[in-house]
């Protein structure tokens, strides 16, 4: 039987039942397949579309709209669409019940491929005349806006040709819109509309309609699942208000008015609007308002407490200055503004009596200067002399130091905008001022002076170099303060880059007397440090390095000092790039000389200087390309391999050669070396050699290529360990220590094999004989060391390895369970693991960790206590309920620890924890303990160490406030 839509009864059916609405998809299929003609369908529906009863017409239109929405967009021909469109336009005049379907249906028509934009003119005319947009429901209003947007997207020219009537229609239809979602949509659409459609005489009307929302004051309903926030609306409204230059006058008037309001959001919105408006408005439009704008901005910028307003004011100022500077050549207003800023800020600078005030003013000036090249020139030109004069008459040290910083900032700014040449005269004064500052024998002045000098280095003239060098060299040789020493060396470095020849004669050959390097013994180490630092400058490299190497090879006494200086500098990668190190090695044979020295000195010199030599070699190798590394290895390995049999100290040299090779570097010696290292790590009598042997095992395991080579080395390792059983009490700790290094190498490699070794360590924790060694191994695994398994040694380092260790350790120790009576090593291992695991991971395991930490407080072990108290502090700060629940246990234990005699760190941390408890726990839980805590904290006030007393005061005064009037706390 034919479906109903082939028959004229269709109309009646639509009116009667809802079932047909579910079958529209089949109708559409019939239409598309050609079985049903659209005209035929319309004829069948005639009864309902032209019914006298409005309700029936509504149903008919609904049904038809539904079909239109479901029919493929490219199916209908232009002619068909034309008729349907005409029909829909006509329907706009119908009863209000019908309108929603008409709006929805027309939206579907507009989307069709063959829709001709010409039809829309008529639609809009009738729409704006017949339908009062704001009397429709939310969705229908939205449909109207959407239709307008679609037409605009389709044909801008046509939309423009619709003229002022169309614009007026649009204005009146959105006038009074109050739904936040629709508003958000409109605000997003409006800038596009305003930019494309000329407003003509309707500018003011349009602005009125938009500006009535400004500033947005809106609080979303708390039940709204997808609420629109005030900030979203405000951010969307802002570009509408300044979408076209025609709005300028209205907009600026509005925002100046709102800037003066007392409402905080109004101020912030206005400042943001001002910044945004600079993107579209013409510079000239700001002219009449500049005075008012600057005075408002100045008021907000000097706000004392509200950082957000301050930031917004800075942004607005920066945008405004940048905008005006674009018309600097034609318009006087830019200069007037900058002059206004300068006048008021110079007064403020002169009046500033504290650093805070001074910094605030200078920040404003820097913002204005940073906005454009022109402003930067004017401001730096007048501010640099002003600040120099200011320095002379303000005698407060802090203000003088702050003004030195400010000069540096100004210079950087001028440099950034490339206006240094234009203000050369002013800039030239700065180094002289720096010299005055560093001539004061005070650390703060010298630091500030040198730091500023480094920044303005290019302005330094030759005549000032000598006085600076005098002071600097005095500092380098005599200063005991590390910071000052570091900055002095940096300054010499910076001057040397500018005047290499001058400094060569003054410093390298003069003060440091490079040709008789070791003749003067006083402060030799410090001079060497300076020289090795300077050697990183290309002009000095050759002379200095050659002299230093000569000193190493010929002079026995001081060679170790030279090596130490070289090592410190070359380890600093910001001074010596990899290329530089590689170049020094190839030009001067660094490794060769150091190695010769090491082999000569190995018997007699101290462990520290040996270590320096070894680190220097390994760092140098680390910087070489792979082929060169292989060459160095093959040249030296055999020679040293022969020697270690006589004395195993030689192994250290061997280890440092192999320490920093790249991943995948492999030669024939590797297998032999691994066996040797394994043997030494367990059997050598020297602790250092055992440690270095462990390093080597770890490095080999970590860096060897996966696959065959790794398997081979791993096999050697396992075979050796299974055959090497020895029965004495030294052996077990050494073995467990080695396990630690193996585990670390494997876990860093990202290999799952580490679990096997970790398991052995965890089992050892419960064994009283070697529990200590086991916890030490855990520490080894978790702690980063700079000269083993770090990126400098080209080691693999898998992401999140600490988390993996934490997970694995937790699982294993749960399986094995806590050991017998003496649990100290067990807790200590936990402490090492927990200390290094990221806190975010721990937060998920609070219920496991907190009891553990509380139990551990009973043990008398400094490391253990520090870590566990730290953890508890972290959880207390996080306001976790579990801490409050165990307050009764934590508090007495902590109070007990405030008198822990062995370590003040433990005392300080426990006091800190007690302080945090008062902050983190609810008052009702704390009150029962208040009196006894206050009493118990009294002895800590008289602690022998000042730092502990300080912590005690903090904790005790905080506890006095618990539950007292005036306490600032919400539970």
């Amino acid at each position: 039987m034919e479906p109903i839509w082939f028959k004229p009864d269709l109309a009646e059916q639509i009116i009667k039942t809802d079932d047909l609405f579910d079958q529209t998809q089949s109708i559409v299929t019939d239409i598309v397949s050609g079985r049903l003609d659209l005209t035929c369908l319309t004829e069948n529906m005639a009864g309902t579309l032209t019914n006298k009863d409005a309700e029936c017409r509504e149903r008919g239109m609904k049904f038809f709209t539904k079909i239109l929405k479901e029919i493929p967009k490219d199916y209908l021909s232009e002619m068909q669409i034309k008729f349907i469109s005409k029909f829909y336009v006509d329907r706009l005049k119908d009863n209000h019940r019908v309108i929603p379907s008409v709006l929805e249906g027309y939206l579907a028509i507009v989307d069709m491929r063959n829709y001709n934009v010409q039809y829309s003119g008529e639609y809009f005319t009738i729409l704006f005349r017949e339908v009062a947009c704001q009397s429709q429901v939310r969705q229908d209003r939205y449909n109207i806006y959407l239709t307008i947007q679609k037409i605009l997207d389709m044909d801008v020219q046509y939309t423009q040709s619709l003229g002022p009537d169309f614009v007026y229609g649009f204005i009146s239809s959105m006038d009074g819109e109050r739904d936040p979602r629709n508003l958000l949509y409109l605000f997003n659409f409006l800038p596009k509309f305003l930019n494309k459609v000329p407003l003509g005489h309707l500018v003011e009307e349009m602005f009125e309609v938009i500006s009535c929302y400004y500033p947005i004051d809106f609080h979303p309903s708390p039940n709204d699942p997808a609420a629109v926030s005030r900030n979203e609306l405000a951010a969307a409204l802002c570009p509408c208000l300044c979408a076209v230059p025609e709005f300028a006058e209205h907009c600026l008037l509005l925002l100046i008015e709102k800037l003066d309001s007392s409402l905080r959001v109004a101020k912030i919105d206005s400042l943001m609007l001002l910044a945004e408006s600079c993107k579209t408005f013409k510079p000239q439009s700001y002219g009449p308002f500049l005075k008012a704008l600057w005075s408002s901005i100045q008021r907000e910028i000097s706000h004392k407490t509200d950082e957000e307003i301050k930031l917004a004011a800075h942004e607005a100022l920066s945008a405004l200055v940048a905008k005006l500077s674009t018309a600097a050549d034609t318009d006087q207003s830019f200069e007037n503004l900058i002059k206004g800023i300068l006048i008021s800020m110079q007064t403020a600078v002169a009046e500033a009596s504290t650093v805070v005030q001074f910094v605030q003013v200078t920040k404003t000036l820097l913002t204005a200067a940073n906005a454009s090249k022109q402003s930067c020139e004017i401001i730096t030109k007048s501010m640099i002399p002003a600040v120099i004069a200011y320095y002379e008459f303000k005698t407060s040290p802090k203000l003088q130091i702050a003004s030195l910083d400010f000069l540096g900032d100004l210079y950087d700014m001028a440099d950034h905008w490339a206006v240094v040449e234009l203000i050369e005269k002013q800039v030239d004064e700065i180094p002289q001022l720096c010299l005055n500052a560093v001539s004061v024998p005070s650390k703060e002045y010298q630091l500030a002076g040198f730091k500023t000098l480094i920044r303005v280095m290019r302005a330094l003239k030759t005549d000032l170099v000598l006085p600076f060098v005098e002071i600097l060299m005095y500092n380098v040789q005599h200063s005991l303060d590390d910071e000052l020493l570091g900055v002095s060396v940096q300054t010499i470095h910076a001057i040397s880059r500018k005047y290499p020849e001058l400094m060569m004669s003054l410093v390298v050959q003069g003060k440091c007397d490079i040709n008789n390097l070791t003749a003067d013994k006083t402060a030799l180490q410090k001079r060497l440090n300076l020289l090795s630092n300077l050697a990183s400058i290309d002009d000095f490299t050759k002379i200095i390095i050659e002299e230093m190497l000569k000193a190493i090879t010929t002079n026995d006494e001081d060679a170790s000092k030279v090596v130490q200086a070289l090592n410190t500098s070359i380890s600093n990668t910001s001074l010596y790039s990899e290329d530089k190190v590689a170049q020094i090695e190839s030009d001067h044979g660094l490794i060769e000389s150091i190695l010769a020295w090491l082999l000569k000195e190995i018997k007699t010199s101290t462990q520290d200087s040996l270590d320096n030599g070894c680190t220097l070699i390994s760092n140098t190798i680390s910087s070489l390309p792979v082929e060169k590394q292989l060459k160095v290895l093959s040249r030296h390995t055999n020679e040293i391999l022969g020697q270690w049999k006589i004395d195993d100290t030689y192994f250290q040299v061997l280890e440092c050669l192999y320490r920093s090779v790249n991943q995948g570097v492999y030669n024939a010696h590797f297998e032999e070396l691994l066996s040797l290292a394994l043997n030494l790590s367990l059997n050598s009598e020297s602790a250092v050699v055992r440690l270095k042997a462990c390093y080597m095992v770890a490095h080999f395991l970590n860096k060897v290529d996966s696959g065959q080579k790794f398997e081979l080395l791993y096999e050697i390792l396992k075979n050796y360990l299974s055959s090497c059983g020895r029965e004495d009490e030294d052996f077990c700790p050494r073995l467990i220590n080695l396990y630690g290094w193996i585990t670390k190498a494997l876990v860093l490699r990202g290999s799952d094999l580490f679990q096997f070794w970790l398991n052995k360590i965890v089992i050892a924790i419960s064994n009283p004989e070697c529990s200590k060694a086991a916890s030490e191994s855990i520490r080894t695994i978790m702690t980063d060391t700079s000269n083993c398994l770090s990126s400098r040694q080209h080691c693999r380092s898998s992401l999140l390895y600490k988390q993996r260790m934490f997970q694995a350790f937790t699982n294993m120790s749960e399986k094995i369970g806590p050991p017998g009576p003496d649990k100290e090593a067990y807790y200590l291992s936990w402490a090492y693991v927990l200390e290094k695991t990221p806190k975010t991971v721990l937060n998920n395991e609070i219920s496991k960790i907190v009891p553990l930490a509380i139990d551990a407080l009973e043990y008398d072990n400094k490391d253990l206590l520090t870590v566990m108290i730290d953890l508890l502090i972290h959880f207390v700060q996080g306001k976790n309920a579990i801490v409050t629940d165990s307050l009764q246990t934590i508090l007495p234990r902590m109070i007990n620890l405030t008198t822990y005699t062995k370590s003040m760190d433990v005392r300080i941390k426990s006091l800190q924890c007690i302080y945090e408890l008062a902050n983190g726990c609810p008052t009702r839980a704390l009150l029962p303990h208040k009196q006894c805590t206050l009493l118990a904290l009294a002895p800590a006030l008289d602690d022998r160490k000042r730092l502990a007393r300080h912590a005690a005061v903090r904790a005790r005064t905080r506890w006095f406030l618990v539950g007292a009037p005036g306490e600032d706390k919400q539970d």
């Binding site: 407060s396 802090k398 730092l947 006095f960 406030l961 005036g966 600032d968």
Partner: protein, 155 residues
């Protein structure tokens, strides 16, 4: 509070830097004695009852006006009201006293007085601050305790 502050626009000074931790203080074996600076650190951050400023920023308390004698267990603090007719002088003195009571070991005998010649009713204020019973009575007044607690909350 409708009352306007006694001194509406006081001079504001810079804050001193934090005390630097010396190596001796890190050394477990050396005993650190109480000194002027330590007592000053206890009271420098007390808030002024009228302004959102600390006593240090207003130079009401200064390091040089503090006397500490470790062996005799004596601490004397002299404070300087910003203007001679400041009605808050007693309250400021009380705040300093309370803070020191809470933060110094009980072996010290603490005296808090107005610096000589800096206040019109200097003797009356000193007498009030020295009277233990009046101090104790003041601390039973909840309103007063609230104001004092708000003053000392950051120190």
């Amino acid at each position: 509070m409708t009352k306007i502050a006694d001194n509406v626009n006081p001079d504001v000074y810079d804050k001193g830097s934090e005390r630097e931790v010396t190596t001796n203080e890190r050394n477990e074996d050396i005993v650190d004695e109480f000194d002027q600076r330590e007592v000053f650190d206890l009271i420098r951050n007390i808030n002024d009852p009228e302004h959102p400023l600390t006593l240090e920023e207003l130079r009401v308390v200064e390091e040089k006006n503090i006397l500490v004698d470790n062996d005799k267990n004596v601490v004397n603090v002299y404070f300087t009201p910003t203007i001679p007719h400041c009605s808050m002088a007693t309250l400021i003195g009380l705040s300093i006293r309370v803070q020191l009571l809470r933060a110094l070991p009980s072996r010290f005998k603490v005296t808090v007085e107005v610096s000589e010649g800096t206040h019109v009713s200097e003797h009356a204020v000193n007498k009030q601050l020295a009277d233990k019973e009046r101090v104790a009575a003041a601390l039973e007044n909840n309103n007063l305790v609230q104001i004092i607690n708000q003053c000392v909350v950051n120190s």
